[in-house]
Amino acid sequence: MIETTQLHKRFGQKVAVESLDLDLATGEFFCFLGPNGAGKTTTIKMLTGLIRPTSGRARVGGVDVQQDPVAAKRLLGYVPDHPFLYDKLTGREMLRFVAGLYRMDVAEFHRRVDSMLETFELAQVADQLVEHYSHGMRQKLSFACCFLHQPKVVVVDEPWVGLDPKNIRAVKQFLRQRADEDGLTIFMSTHTLSIAEEVADRIGIIHRGRLLHVGTVEEIKALARRRQEHQLGGSLEDVFLELTRDEEAYGP
């Protein structure tokens, strides 16, 4: 559902993403890990059509993001790390606005809106202006906006900021459930390694624009164990820190 071929982005002399090849299957939950400035956000911006790649291509649901951006974006849902919401709209109005952008049928919108508000526990505040929402409520509203049009692929950039533990669990379960039950493909960039370890089908580690490793959590851990003579602590965090500390030694 997400496919990148030799996806490359250069900002002046700086290579932000170097020849990225990825292939995500339908219903796959993929976690994209990397230190700050590794190229995660640039990759997401290319996948969501916010910036043009210098070379290579990105496809969403088989549609080239640059060749047919409207069709590709229609399949896509995106929750950025700092979501934009109109402060002077109510939660319900914000959802209606999103429905318009995605050309949703009015009847379909009315059918879906209440379930989205219920799912993300926003029904009580749906008719309040967004400017009165807490950070967590804003984050939940941005999830509701993302899922309203039933995307086939969801790109999520560090979604846990501002959510309390209860909501983190709820969102985590919701995403996992959508992937398992609806075949939703999820591409999630995060620094919260414990969550990635818990929910991901596969993990990709990017550092200095290069994709170092892709595999299941166990494969990544095994890879690190194999390449290092001594055994690491066992958690994904240990492996991640080790790989991104000295990636030159391992190579992709």
């Binding site: 900002f11 002046g12 700086k14 932000a16 640039t42 911006k45 969501t48 059509g49 916010l50 910036i51 043009r52 951006p69 409207v70 069709a71 590709a72 974006k73 229609r74 896509l76 995106y78 950025p80 979501p83 934009f84 109109y86 402060d87 002077k88 709209l89 109510t90 109005e93 209606r96 606005f97 999103v98 429905a99 318009g100 952008l101 995605y102 050309r103 009015v106 202006l129 400017e131």
Partner: protein, 568 residues
């Protein structure tokens, strides 16, 4: 709902909620701002009415029984000049507004990643550009055109015609300005270092040519009707048949004289050209918006951290060394953030260009008027102009300073720095920076007017007092009504506090100008004895001083108290 419908619907709902939120504002504040807006509108209406009557009387005397009417000779030219000035101003205004709206507003990343075709996105944002850049023209132009209609006894068809003409007319400069922005971003974004110096050089050459080769028009000599010909001819240069402003002026003039066929033709000419230009701008947007947008995001990524050595800002630390901390750090931060925000310094340069034009057009004497009268009026009008420029500076650039601390205000809140110190820093920063420009302008313009010592002292003293007062108003009200949620200074200024600041600044200028008129005109026109004039001058300056103290102290005190008690 279509994506375009959704974009417009959202803006309409936002407008409804914003208007409704006024109910939550202080009644006193709302009443004051509404009353000031209504007073300003009626003031403009009355001034326009009196101006048209004065023209009518003046030209009736000059023309005598030449068989020509005031309307025939001057009115169409006056309207064309007004429309041309509006066309130029709106084009520049749209150039700046469209950059902020299309490339820098916080909602754009969200809209760009949504499945909205570029043309639809562009048109949705274009509507916002037009509304944002043209509302002031409607507010300031409506009293003028209403006065024109009444004074020329225009038929009723004139009034709906004016409204009909307005929409296609404002679309033309908006399409031109927006297209220029699209092209500039496309060309500059990816190659800033190479293109920007070339563009700056081009603009500098154009400005130099414009200032050095002015088409001078001598003002008419009242005793010599033939001198009017030059003025009337010069005004006619804005009547070129290919100018959209002429289609507006000609159409409105035709509607006022009951020539509906001509008015209809002009309206269709305007509407068809507006539609064509909008279509061309949309085609251009389809081709260049996304590459420009992408390059601009890339340029932002590239800009990254700059080396701390070298460059103009390295001198800033040296220049501010004499300031004690924390003032030094705050001043350095304010200067740096100002110059690194293109929408800020581009508008500042525009204002600076207007000041240069103003100076280039000044003259020491006019053949038609005796020297004493000209100097008295010249001083008064020059002072009013200097004060208005100062008000523009403080309203546009100083008022938003505290709001622009934005969500980072907690950094200042946590620092060992009181809010009182912050307000004081903004105040003295405002006084010192604006005084540099306004005292410079007042000195240069006084020299150009060849004023004597008394008038020069009055000019500089008044401008200095105004600098203190308007800075106090802008900083004080900026602290009293901060908007920490908004990053766009233009939007901060257009809030209730910004509007209140603007009107109070205008009120201060009106009162001070009135008092100066008493001092300058009675001295020059010799209507009272020297002793009485000295006493009158002292009394007027005492009132100016008192007013300045109140305008400085009261808002600053209220602003400090508000920031100290508010929860950050």
């Amino acid at each position: 709902m279509t994506p375009f419908g959704a974009l417009i619907w959202a803006k309409q709902r936002i407008a409804v909620h914003t208007i409704a939120s006024v109910r939550g504002e202080s009644k006193l504040k709302v009443t004051l701002v509404s009353a000031a807006a209504v007073a300003m509108w009626f003031g403009l209406f009355r001034m326009s009415q009196l101006g048209f009557r004065l023209f009518e009387t003046f030209f009736a005397e000059i023309l005598g029984d030449a068989g020509l009417s005031f309307s025939d000779l001057v009115m169409s030219r006056l309207l064309a000049s007004f429309a041309f000035a509006l066309l130029v101003l709106l084009t520049f205004s749209n150039l700046l507004v469209s950059y902020a709206t299309l490339y820098r507003s916080r909602e754009m990343p969200y809209l760009v990643q949504s499945p909205v075709p570029v043309a639809t996105l562009f048109l949705g944002r274009f509507v916002e550009c037009v509304s944002f850049s043209s509302w002031a023209s409607a507010f300031l132009g409506s009293p003028l055109l209403l006065a024109y209609g009444i004074e020329t006894a225009a038929p009723w068809t004139f009034y709906p015609a004016v409204v009909l003409f307005f929409l296609p007319f404002v679309i033309i400069p908006a399409a031109l300005g927006t297209a220029a922005t699209l092209l500039l971003v496309r060309v500059v974004a990816g190659h800033r270092r190479r293109v920007l110096p070339a563009l700056a050089a081009l603009v500098a050459v154009a400005v130099a040519l414009f200032i050095l080769t002015p088409e001078r028009v001598d003002p008419p000599n009242l005793a010599d009707p033939s001198s009017l010909a030059g003025v009337v001819q010069a005004m006619g240069s804005s009547q070129h048949p290919l100018l959209p402003s002429q289609w507006l002026a000609g159409g409105v003039f035709a509607a006022a004289t009951g020539d509906l066929a001509e008015a209809g033709f002009s309206l269709l000419l305007l509407a068809s050209n507006a539609a064509l230009l909008l279509w061309l701008a949309t085609l251009l947007a389809e081709r260049v918006f996304y590459p420009g947008w992408s390059d601009l995001l890339g340029a932002d990524e590239q800009s990254g951290p700059k080396p701390s050595h070298g460059g103009i800002f390295s001198k800033l630390d040296g220049l501010t060394r004499w300031l004690p901390e924390p003032y030094r750090s705050l001043v350095a931060k304010d200067v740096r953030t100002f110059w690194r925000e293109p929408t800020q310094w581009s508008q500042f340069l525009l204002l600076f260009g207007i000041m240069a034009l103003y100076l280039a057009n000044m003259r020491g004497d006019v053949a038609a008027i005796d020297r004493a009268t000209w100097q008295a009026w010249g001083t008064l009008l020059n002072l009013a102009a200097s004060m208005l420029i100062l008000a523009s500076l403080t309203s546009r650039f100083i008022y938003p300073l505290i709001s622009l601390e934005g969500r980072r205000i907690w950094i200042l809140g946590l620092a060992p720095l009181t809010m009182r110190q912050l307000v004081r820093q903004k105040y003295w920063f405002s006084v010192s920076t604006t005084a540099f420009f306004t005292l410079g302008l007042a000195t240069l313009s006084s020299l150009r007017l060849d004023l004597d010592a008394f008038e020069l002292a009055v000019s500089l003293g008044t401008v200095a007092a105004t600098t203190f007062a308007l800075s106090g108003l802008a900083v004080g009200l900026g602290a009293l009504y901060p908007n920490f949620e908004e990053d766009n200074p233009s939007r901060v200024v257009s809030g209730l506090g910004g509007t209140l600041n603007f009107f109070l600044s205008m009120l201060y200028i009106l009162v001070v100008t009135g008092l100066l008129a008493v001092v300058l005109l009675t001295a020059r026109l010799g209507s009272i004895s020297d002793g009485a004039h000295s006493a009158l001058t002292a009394a007027c300056f005492a009132v100016v001083l008192g007013l300045t103290l109140v305008a400085t102290w009261l808002p600053l005190r209220l602003g400090m108290r508000h920031l100290e008690t508010m929860e950050l």
